[in-house]
Amino acid sequence: MPQSWRADTKPHKFCPGCGHGLVLKCLGQAIDELGIQGKTVFGCDIGCSLLSWDFFNLDSVQTHHGRTTPVVTGIKRARPELICIAYMGDGGGYSIGVQHLISAAARDEKITAILANNTQYAMTGGQMAPTTMPGQKTETTPYGRDPETTGFPLHGQEMVASVSREEAYVARGSIANLRQLKSFIKKALENQMKEIGFSFVEALSACPTNWRTNAAETWDFIEEKMPVYFKVGETRKNE
């Protein structure tokens, strides 16, 4: 268990098979390896990400849906010496809070935003999100997402990259490749530590509970189906 995890709140409250625990494990390891536990502030959104409000041995604040980016931006602007992390889901980052995420990227805020993409709103019971795949059934697309009437999945990471400066760090990882995901998160944090610029990592994540998938189907969805729309890799990196 990463040192920066808070032991007495484990086991965590995410569903079995949920991707959040894996993303947060990568984040915890990155924080440990960078030795920044003493100066890091963690903000989390509404949706399942809120279950991480007491996840770390880090000063943490749970905000409103979509508003983690501005709260964390406000902290960073007031105390630039802190390492500030905004943690959210795809609904918070790409829908209700998209103006905040895009504006933070455009202003090159020296924060790190981490977004777990599980292709739907999980905590509210599995509704369509901007990231829902064509044909994917959700509670608000009971016959499958029809791109004709509801559009195609949003390329959020690419959208963020398109408004980010060259010096920003913008990448998409996946819980299917934890070593890589951790390295992306670490580079994102380093980008902030060196005061270079904005950093953002989207993590392809799993929600077997709402997908109603068994283990084999879950991995098939993450490894085969999601990458069709959501290409894994680094879009902006300062090297």
Binding site: N57, P70, V71, A78
Partner: protein, 362 residues
């Protein structure tokens, strides 16, 4: 340490928005977050002109949701942070302020009211009383100062930071478009030179030491699982709010003892009321006024006493009864008649006050 904005007291001729920026600097505010909306823009204009000279910061955000939530971030980081807004911006501000209310965050928001509903006019009104006092999803655990002059804008903006950090409830300075734009003289002073202690801010997050090693981590949330958990928390906060209310509530009154008619109003309307009452007194009419400075919490015992005194009441405001609703709630049980004079989104002159008063005294 950065230098002081006011080295020695002086009279100055200023606009209201400018006064707010100076007062925030005098109160040692650290950072302003803001989004443009008329009629508060010059608060940002003057803050951005002066802030760098005093090592202060500014962030122009993408909207008022962000202005409110970044202000929350600034406060949680342990800085005196504030924002300013109006009208539809104040509507958006209700979401972050409900979080501040829930988490007892000492945010300071300056509201320069404009006409409503909706975008309406950018000029003037008193139609943001309900929203500022008891808006958002919550219980109205806020402190709202309604100012009536540039001196008060200066005094109460300074005070708002102290009140917020002392009691940890979101605090508002409620002005309006007239006050924002009009020009008049006031005394600028350094609060500390007058013996006003400035309450230092305190960090919620980003505190000294490694969490989990040197100290427990500071974990904050506004989401709760159980109704009972929430109930206990809200009741505790409400109890605190009720307890501090007598200390926080402020009002002005004159001529009440022998008055047949007491005129009630707040903010800039109070100026017209005061002028009219003074003019009528000179003409021998037995009139007085009662003006709540704080709209939340209202000066409850004084209002109850007033309502028990069998005088006529005339409540005047530039909205269709937003102060009246708060006032009547306190006055409940009294049989004293409350006459009303409502002009939503329009100014009220001293002449109108006198005419309305004479109509009742006839």
């Amino acid at each position: 340490m950065s230098k002081k904005i006011v080295e020695q007291e002086k009279r100055a001729f200023m606009t209201g928005n400018e006064v707010v920026a100076w007062a925030a600097l005098a109160a040692k505010a650290d950072i302003m977050y803001g989004y443009p909306i008329t009629p508060q823009n010059e608060i940002m204009h003057y803050w951005t002109r002066m802030a760098p000279k005093y090592e202060k910061s500014f962030l122009q955000t993408e909207d008022e949701l962000s202005a409110g939530f970044t202000t929350i971030g600034g406060v949680m980081a342990g800085r005196k942070a504030f924002t300013a807004t109006a009208g539809p911006g104040n509507t958006l501000m209700q979401e972050p302020m409900s979080m501040a209310e829930m988490m007892r965050l000492p945010t300071v928001v300056v509201v320069q009211q404009r006409g409503g509903p909706s975008t309406a006019t950018v000029i003037y009104s008193q139609q943001e009383v309900t929203m500022t006092s008891i808006g958002g999803n919550g219980e109205g655990m806020r402190i709202v100062y309604s100012t009536s002059s540039h001196q008060e804008l200066y005094d109460y903006t300074i005070k708002a930071f102290n009140t917020a950090w002392k009691y940890r409830f979101p605090t508002f300075v409620l002005g309006d478009g007239y006050q924002a734009k009009m020009r008049e003289s006031l005394t600028l002073y350094d609060p500390e030179a007058r013996g006003i202690e400035l309450i230092p801010p305190e960090a919620y997050v980003g505190k000294e030491g490694v969490p989990g090693k040197d100290r427990p981590p500071a974990h904050f949330r506004n989401t709760y699982n159980m109704e009972e958990e929430l109930y206990e928390l809200v009741m505790d906060a409400l109890q605190d709010y009720e307890k501090i209310s007598p200390d926080v509530a402020e009002y002005h009154s004159a001529g009440i003892e022998d008055a047949e008619l007491v005129i009630v109003g707040h903010g800039i309307v109070y100026r017209a009321i005061k002028a009219a009452v003074e003019a009528m007194r000179e003409k021998g009419l037995r009139v007085g006024y009662f003006r709540p400075v704080t709209l939340r919490p209202l000066p409850v015992p004084q209002i109850k006493e007033l309502m028990a005194s069998n005088k006529q009441i005339l409540l005047m405001e530039s909205s269709y009864g937003q102060l009246a609703r708060l006032f009547k709630d306190v006055a409940y049980g009294s049989s004293t008649k409350i006459n009303t004079f409502f002009k939503p989104g329009m100014g009220i002159t001293a002449e109108e006050v006198e005419a309305a008063a004479r109509e009742i005294l006839k």
